[in-house]
């Protein structure tokens, strides 16, 4: 049976351009610019300085804080400088500039393993941390933290998220088709570390091929003990958002400000599971990731394995340039992604897609009066009343906005998407969230 959650929207999929194309390696860039913050948590301190020689996969920055993740060189070469540089999420941040030597010499300090059973849970967790694995679905939460359950917490279910509900993006889909065995191995380790007794692999109904690929691997006797089940979900946005996913599969609701842990589960993206596999089995740190590079302006839309720190313009060149004038460049999907100011912006660990959209792709409308139709209420997966919150925020009535749970917003953008009056509801709610946060920290 196809499962889903109440609310959500059904935008056009727009995945056809890249859905059937094998993942290709992007050319190794001549220069990379690697930001010192690529994850949720504490920024890293550089371990290298101008003139340092680095190898691909060598740690170049780390933090001693628990919620953080080390950062690795993605090419071999020489550190030119450490300086502020455009950052796709936070505008700009300090970054390590590495000039490549063209050799792409790999760092080999992390040993490979053939038999993961010989490793203890702590050893696996250490490898995951050392390899800089973070959630690759977008939020980039450090994976070793997620896999270390707090004292007294236990979970029963692990959800592997292969729903990829954002339009345009196919990187997870391709990964499931091309590397199902690695994904399942990675998931097996994550199950072991979290102690979950069941696993659900969540896939949207438009990716049946991926479901079959994973099912085939799961049939192997070795995986019987995983107690894993593939769940087909309705193709609907934001199906892949943690709260929607857990609601769909387990019919549990993560409490406000809570975590999936609070309802006995952990959710992880398929790309993350594969990165865990590569780290433990191949000793490979997270210095590259699969990125869907698409949009009507790209001559050759593709899924590319891209080195972290590659500036966008290098990818444009690698894909045969641009066909027409770009109006917006978006990191991520069209629903939650961030529009970029510059072609110099580098790919980071959380970059799942880069969209080159023309003016026609990004239909813009004049805003009109709210007609109180309630469509925003119907689509909000968090049961909020976006139209009312918008009114409160406009009038700076933040107390009322709090009463209406403005802080619960998961920023999916369904309200703005659906609004016939084309009111940027999400933008108002986001502003409300920020103001409320300021109010609370001022107290």
């Amino acid at each position: 049976m196809i499962k889903t959650f109440p609310g959500g929207v059904q935008p056009a999929c727009l995945k056809n351009e890249t859905i059937d194309k094998l993942i290709k390696n992007a050319p190794v860039p001549r220069e990379v610019i690697i930001p010192l913050l690529q994850h949720t948590g504490a920024p890293c301190e550089p371990m290298v300085s101008a003139g340092s020689r680095v190898r691909t996969g060598q740690v170049i920055a780390r933090s001693d804080k628990f919620i953080s993740s080390p950062i690795h060189a993605s090419i071999s070469g020489t550190v030119k400088k450490i300086d502020r540089y455009p950052h796709p999420v936070i505008g700009s941040f300090n970054a390590v500039f590495i000039e490549g030597d063209g050799a792409d010499t790999k760092e080999t300090s992390i040993k490979k393993t053939d038999n993961v059973n010989l490793l203890s849970e702590d050893e696996i967790r250490d490898i995951v941390r050392e390899c800089g694995i973070v959630g690759l679905g977008g939020a980039a939460f450090p994976t070793h933290v997620k896999l270390a359950l707090p004292e007294g917490k236990a979970i029963d279910s692990f959800i592997l998220n292969g729903s990829e509900c954002e339009p345009y993006l196919t990187c997870d889909h391709r990964l499931m088709l091309e590397n199902p065995a690695g994904i399942i191995e990675g998931m097996a380790m994550m199950l072991r570390l979290t102690g979950a007794s069941r696993a659900y692999i969540a896939i949207e109904s438009n990716k049946i091929g991926a479901a079959f690929a994973l099912e085939k691997i799961l049939r192997d006797k070795r995986y019987n003990t995983l107690n894993a089940k593939i769940v087909i979900l309705k193709t609907k946005y934001p199906q892949g958002a943690e709260r929607s996913l857990i609601k769909s599969i387990l019919n549990r609701e993560v409490p406000p400000r809570g975590l999936p842990l609070d309802v006995g589960c952990v959710v992880s993206n398929v790309g993350t599971a594969f990165a865990v596999y590569e780290a433990v089995f191949n000793g490979k740190p997270l210095y590259e990731r699969v990125v869907t590079v698409t949009g009507s302006c790209v001559a050759e839309p593709s899924n590319l394995r891209v080195r972290i720190g590659t500036p966008v313009k290098d990818l444009v060149d690698a894909l045969g340039g641009l066909k027409k004038d770009v109006y917006k460049i978006i990191f991520g999907g069209p629903m939650m992604g961030l529009a970029q100011l510059s072609l110099d912006t580098p790919v980071i660990k959380g970059t799942s897609g880069i969209l080159f959209l023309s003016k026609e792709d990004v239909a813009e409308y004049a805003e009109t009066n709210c007609i109180r139709c309630g469509r925003c209420v119907d689509v909000c997966p968090l049961n909020m009343v976006p139209a009312d919150i918008m009114r409160f925020v406009k009038k700076e009535q933040y107390e009322r906005a709090i009463e209406y749970n403005v802080e619960d917003c998961i920023e999916c953008g369904c309200c703005s998407y659906e609004c016939p009056s084309k009111i940027p509801l999400f933008q108002w709610i986001k502003l409300g969230k920020t103001e409320v946060l300021n109010l609370r920290s001022a107290k």
Partner: protein
């Protein structure tokens, strides 16, 4: 080329449906009703619809100009108000009365509150309520179908209430009865309503709860005393119940935004309509039931805030 990039908040793609899209969609859903009204009331129907639509659009433009606002008649909302107003007026209503009704609907019902989106009451129904108060005789002078004169003829509800005469169901279903221009033909209303819901121009919760509540309550009264109270089918097919439930009560601006609120709104309308039809001096109560529920909509919204996601049930 960097300077040409546009930076704005997500989402970067939007649903194509706009407010004018919704309004013109509603106008298209009214086409079956327009056609049936022309079949039954011929030139009277055309005259009334043209009068109401034109006066509504002109009033809207004139008031927007006076208020120094952008003239937004292209959004289709005044056209819909005009069409709906025509549908709830007697076919042979004099042109000047229809013009006054239209001016009141747009001026008092909508623009006085601040224009589209701000009004509390359904503008078309407010226009009709005004005419009903000001010109009660004209508003209760009904025409038989296929006759061009204002031959005084009672509506099926009137015949039932005051003379216990039952109009055949087939006439009620097809619309071959006296009544307001667009309320008589159940079939045409249902066809238009189907299109309205399939295209999602209006929600289904209000009409469903409205119709079901009226049927249950009407049916229960009929079971208690069949000689005084008509049965549920008669309630549904006669008067403006279907037109009101499908096209009036679903007006987005004047109905609740929350799902629970919409159920309450529909149930409230259903109860009020049967109460008015059964125990008031009037044969019909759809207009007042909807207007009353319009009035408490802000309150309904406030008390039907959806349960917070993840909060204890």
């Amino acid at each position: 080329m960097n300077k040409d990039l546009t930076v704005s908040s997500s989402p970067h793609m939007l649903n194509k449906l706009t407010v004018p899209g919704v309004m013109w969609g509603v106008a298209i859903s009214l086409v079956p009703v327009v056609i049936s009204s022309v079949i039954f009331f011929n030139i009277l129907a055309i005259r009334l619809m043209l009068t109401c639509v034109l006066s509504c659009v002109i009033s809207e433009a004139a008031i927007q100009k006076l208020r120094g606002k952008k003239i937004a008649i292209k959004d289709g909302s005044a056209v819909v108000t005009g069409l709906l107003l025509a549908m709830v007026l007697p076919p042979a209503l004099p042109v000047w009365t229809a013009v006054i009704g239209s001016i009141v609907a747009i001026g008092l019902g909508k623009q006085l509150f601040g224009g589209l989106g701000y009004n509390i009451f359904n503008p078309a129904l407010l226009g009709r309520a005004f005419l009903m108060a000001a010109f009660p005789t004209l508003l209760t002078k009904w025409t038989s179908p296929f006759t061009l004169d204002a031959v005084t003829q009672a509506t099926p509800l009137g015949l039932m209430k005051f003379s216990q005469i039952k109009t055949p169901y087939m006439d009620l279903f097809l619309g071959n009865t006296a009544g307001s221009l667009g309320e008589t033909a159940a079939l045409a209303i249902l066809i238009g309503g189907g299109y309205l819901f399939i295209k999602r121009y209006a929600g289904w919760r209000i009409p469903l709860s409205f119709i079901v509540t009226a049927s249950i309550l009407g049916g229960a009264l009929h079971a208690v005393n069949p000689s005084v109270f008509p049965n549920a089918a008669f309630h549904l097919l006669s008067g403006g119940l279907l037109l009101g439930a499908i096209f009036m009560a679903t007006d987005p601006v004047t109905s609740p935004v929350t799902k629970k609120g919409r159920w309450i709104f529909g149930i409230g309308c259903g109860i009020l309509v049967i109460v008015i039809r059964s125990w008031s001096g009037l044969p019909e109560g759809v207009m007042y039931s909807i207007l009353l529920m319009n009035g408490i909509t802000p309150l309904v919204n406030r008390y039907t805030k959806p349960r917070r996601f993840g909060a204890k049930r």
